[in-house]
Amino acid sequence: MSVKHPPSAYTYLRHKKKFPHVWCPGCGIGIVMGAIIRAVDGLGLDQNHVAIISGIGCTSRMPVYMDFNTMHTTHGRALAFATGLKLVRPDMHIIVVMGDGDALAIGGNHFIHAARRNIGLTAVILNNHIYGMTGGQVSPSTPVGMVATTAPYGNTDPPFPITDLSIAAGAAYVARSTVYHSHELEKYIRTGLEVPGFAVIEAVSYCHTTVGRLNKLGGAVEMMRNLKETSLTRRMAEKRSPEELEGKIVRGVFYHDACRKEYCALYQEIQEKAGGAKLAARRISSMEMV
């Protein structure tokens, strides 16, 4: 794989308007943003045809900094907003960025249904195992035993296995990487954008400001190092026993179904059956660029 030169930040960032950003120094969210931008750039997508939609949280602040069609919606509902947009503009590339609480707690229902429909959205879940924005409460991906402000004696609730959940719910592409492995992350997001159906990319990150402090795990540097040291590829993981994999982050592509029909394509068939497909196509092209 040839490494492309990083795209000019001036092309994709609202550099004059929106900086400095709101994130804590050292936070991993910016790395995911960089990976998204490079993935879009790598595919040569037209900025006007890309939308970034988010919910609420630290992660969901991401779209405001990026020069695409951007929408910061309500907590947990980004996928539902994106579903409406995608259905009327199936020609657009829509990336939905969410925190783990956003995607899996308040937005859990929308998440499994978007996967079930296999609608052509690229869902990037930034998993920092915590509610960052509200100051460190447990999330549905907080490991058992971890301390959070609403789990002062340690978390009791088992976390969702995000990749398994996505596959079971019907996603067409499921991958996981970490913010330490930014090139790998970029590659997965890129493939996610190329897959016609619903793609889930779990980007494992950290929140040193809350998790780090509460659990005495150090700052951003230590937590970043931890991602490097505790993660391994799927191929390596296959040789390990379940006990050995305890507490490890397995990276890789967990599912890739190139055949399953995407939802908007299916609905197009409905429009054809009902006799309105030509009208729909004409409407979409009339929405095109000015």
Partner: protein, 374 residues
């Protein structure tokens, strides 16, 4: 000329949506609104539109806003419990000024209440259901034909003012069948949202404009901008500055307030010399008309002021019509949600309320009794 036909209120509402150019419906089944979804599931793909049954009403409202920002006129239909679930995102539409239409076929609440029984219990929920101060428009049809006309109008108002518009149909009107003659296509006025004409780099989705309603560019049209439920500046970017929040708040209220005379419609019948005025809306106004007929036969001077728009409240008309009257009767299928507004204007000593919240309609007899001071 279209042929006369028997139609149900909900069906007429769906037909109105198609006539208005609706191209997206996202909803979740709930009695007594489901017919609207069922009709649109059949009709929308025929006109190149999209129907989707979402996983719940929260998602439905979100999808409607997403579709609207994609440039399609979009709506949903629900009833009380679903309407409650939609409130957060209705507030989002108000905040982001994205046009959308929400039909609420009201049933008896609170909670699951009586799903098939009529009510007008969501009048205040339509006004104040979402948190924070924001303007809203709500219409109340009283006949099958009006279900058609007001749905068209809801889309027009929504597109024109960039605001969520609620159509409050009561269960009686939604499920009633009447003979209607729908207007021919060429007679139906259909408005489209204003789109920007300036180059993309100058575009301000929340900029000031003489009409107070800035143009709205659909996503994917070459105008790249930001939408957020946070308070935002003219470009759409989040702001904490009082000098940016304040003009925005003023503008979104002003765009409706300055146009109340255009938006708020009423119909009157014999109010000129009336000593008693009945203020009613929805199906109850029909019972009131019936009662008035009987009362007039007994030489009583009774008039009807029928509210076709509930929000913004037609304050001036209510004041003008009721000023000379000795008595104002406000019958409604709730405990006085509109009566409060009428009392605010004409004074509560003049107002007599007639209320029912047991899932039965208010009969002409009950209104007649009130007219006769029984």
């Amino acid at each position: 000329m279209t042929m006369p036909r028997m139609m149900q209120g909900n069906e007429a509402c769906a037909a109105g949506a198609i006539a208005a150019g609706c191209l997206f419906f996202g909803g979740y089944p709930i009695t007594p609104s489901t017919d609207i979804a069922e009709h649109l599931a059949r009709e929308l793909p025929r006109v190149g539109g999209v129907f989707i049954q979402m996983e719940d009403e929260i998602a439905s409202m979100a999808a409607v806003i997403g579709a609207s920002i994609g440039g399609a006129k979009a709506m949903t239909a629900t009833s009380g419990p679903g309407f409650s679930l939609m409130q957060e995102n209705i507030g989002y539409a108000a905040m982001t000024e994205v046009p959308c239409v929400v039909v609420n076929v009201m049933r008896l609440g609170p909670s699951t209440g009586r799903p098939t029984s009529p009510s007008q219990g969501d009048v205040m929920q339509a006004r104040w259901g979402s948190h924070g101060d924001h303007p809203i428009i709500a219409l109340a049809p009283a006949s099958v034909l009006e279900c058609f006309e007001m749905t068209v109008r809801a889309f027009n108002l929504s597109e024109r003012y960039r605001i969520p518009v609620i159509v409050l149909i009561d269960e009686v009107v939604g499920h009633m069948r009447e003979k209607v003659i729908l207007p021919p296509r060429e007679d139906i006025k259909v408005l489209e949202r204003l789109r920007p004409s300036e180059p993309p780099e100058w575009y301000k989705p929340y900029g000031s404009s003489p009409s107070d309603v800035p143009p709205l560019a659909p996503f994917g049209s070459g105008y790249r901008y930001h939408i957020t439920g946070l308070h935002h500046d003219e470009a759409g970017f989040p702001t904490n500055r009082v000098n940016e929040v304040r003009p925005w708040t003023r503008r979104i209220f002003r765009k409706i307030k300055a146009n109340v005379h255009r938006i708020a419609r009423c119909e009157t019948d014999g109010v000129e010399d009336a000593r008693t005025v009945i203020v009613a809306y929805g199906s109850v106004a029909r019972a009131a008309s019936e009662a008035i007929k009987t009362a007039r036969a007994k030489r009583r001077k009774v008039g009807l002021l029928r509210l076709q728009t509930l929000w913004p409240f037609p304050t001036r008309t209510v004041d003008a019509v009721c000023r000379e009257a000795r008595r104002v009767i406000v019958p409604e299928m709730n405990l006085g949600q509109m009566a409060i507004e009428v009392e605010r204007i004409v004074g509560d000593r003049k107002v007599r309320r007639v209320n029912r919240i047991d899932g039965e309609m208010i009969t002409p007899r009950e209104i007649l009794d009130a007219i006769e001071g029984k």
